[in-house]
Point group: C2
Chain length 270, copies 2
């Protein structure tokens, strides 16, 4: 593999995944990953642009940022690309009234949205709310529509909590896609539109930016398909087999965000 | 379309789907579809061979046959190809110990199976037991295996109860396949092995048999891929759009089993 200097040449901005890179989640709380608080602070003191890009769909953006601030991170709502606010824009633009298959923690994001007489389904990481009854209701709403619209907050396969790996929203999206014979519109990684909106917020072209994430498919593969470079951290949901993934090869594998930032500050923007 | 005489020429045996063709299910019971009790009786008095081929995975074979007999059908356990008994054979042959993601009604079929320290997952139509907790347990079992084995009792998309369309096991199979990056082994329609075992029980070649079902993909498409002919009935989960399905075209569409049997007795085996 090429030397780091070559691999990181010309990088002017960094997109950071949040869960599994900044902190490890637990029910309603979390612990910072060692070195990550300081790594974010160092990045922000550098000449590199920094933005956060998450598929979080269990907490509202406000709650997520508040949690991260409590853990010591220098972060504000305006620096985060998150799927729920992006979805609300789409719903309003297209006059869509969703049946919401989401968890209670994120419901407040949709307070201004009309949910009467639904003409689409919005699915997030609903956790325990992924009951058979709720899934079946979403299925029935879609089957009764002439043009079924399913909007998904991300399409992650799983994430890691301190108690172990947990099924993510993508699995349930696949279930509804198969049952209804439709394809969901993904608002979140790995959707190219989602990465592009984050790049736009940074004012950078794809080749000038690098994604740092723990998900080999959603973070690394998605960013690369967009023309960005991407590093995978060996924290969060990382599994050793990811380094031999049949389809996706990261531009580099690092132990954690701290190592990624060491390398970036040494080699990027040269 | 060719005349019925041509389409049914040489048929010597009939495979009958059960739910949606013989009866419409409701919670734990059911009502016969008009004309179906007599249609089965007429078929059995004819020279045509008859076998039942179901993906039922909520009731044990014994309970299903008992229900059908109570509804007036002439049917016995030995005449039915069902996924649970077929799965038990596979588990024993390969020394597999399943985590069972199934509903209570079919659990007795697995009484003789060792389920300690699971090295595979068996998934059926678990209904209300498709909780997030149970799905996540199945996911975690699979992710901890070096060679994850997921065996699915059918792969139906949905079925119809008197209260409406209901998500079937296939949706949840897709969820686990996506989350784990694996492919399930399907025991049931539309798996070719499953149709072949039913044909073998009848002592017929595929071109001599016709499937009658209400599922355009699972029944009709599956049987046709096996070399059989197939009729779709306009009962059960049938929807008018099925007659314009982008991939599957039945050899004929009939209002119900009674009409199918009328046509078969008139034209088959000539």
């Amino acid at each position: 593999m090429a030397a780091w200097g070559q691999r990181l040449a010309g990088v002017r901005g960094v997109l950071l995944d949040i869960s599994g890179v900044l902190f490890d989640g637990a029910e309603g709380s979390g612990v910072p990953i060692a070195g990550s608080v300081e790594a974010v602070a160092r990045l922000k003191r550098s000449r590199l642009k920094v933005r956060f890009c998450t598929n979080e769909s269990q907490k509202s953006l406000g709650d997520l940022v508040e949690l991260l601030q409590q853990l010591g991170f220098d972060i504000s709502e305006g620096e985060v690309t998150a799927p729920a606010p992006a979805t609300c824009l789409i719903l309003k633009e297209r006059g869509l009234r969703p049946y919401l298959l989401i968890c209670d923690g994120i419901r407040s994001e949709f307070d201004q949205i009309d949910t009467s007489n639904p003409n689409c389904v919005v699915i997030g990481d609903a956790g325990e709310s992924f009951s058979y009854q709720n899934m079946n209701k979403a299925f029935q709403v879609l089957m009764e529509l002439e043009n079924p619209v399913l909007i998904s907050l991300g399409k992650g396969r799983y994430y890691k909590e301190t108690s172990g790996l947990m099924l993510d929203v993508g699995a349930y999206v696949k279930a509804l896609e198969y049952a209804c014979g439709i394809e969901a519109e993904v608002v979140g990684k790995p959707s190219p539109e989602y990465f592009k909106s984050a790049l736009q917020e940074m004012g950078l072209e794809a080749h000038q930016a690098i994604m740092i994430g723990d998900d080999i498919v959603g973070d690394v593969g998605g960013a690369q398909r967009c023309g960005m470079r991407a590093l995978q951290v060996r924290t969060g949901k990382f599994r050793p087999s990811d380094e031999h993934h049949p389809e996706v090869k990261a531009d580099g594998y690092v132990d954690n965000l701290a190592e990624a930032v060491d390398l970036l500050l040494q080699h990027a923007d040269k």
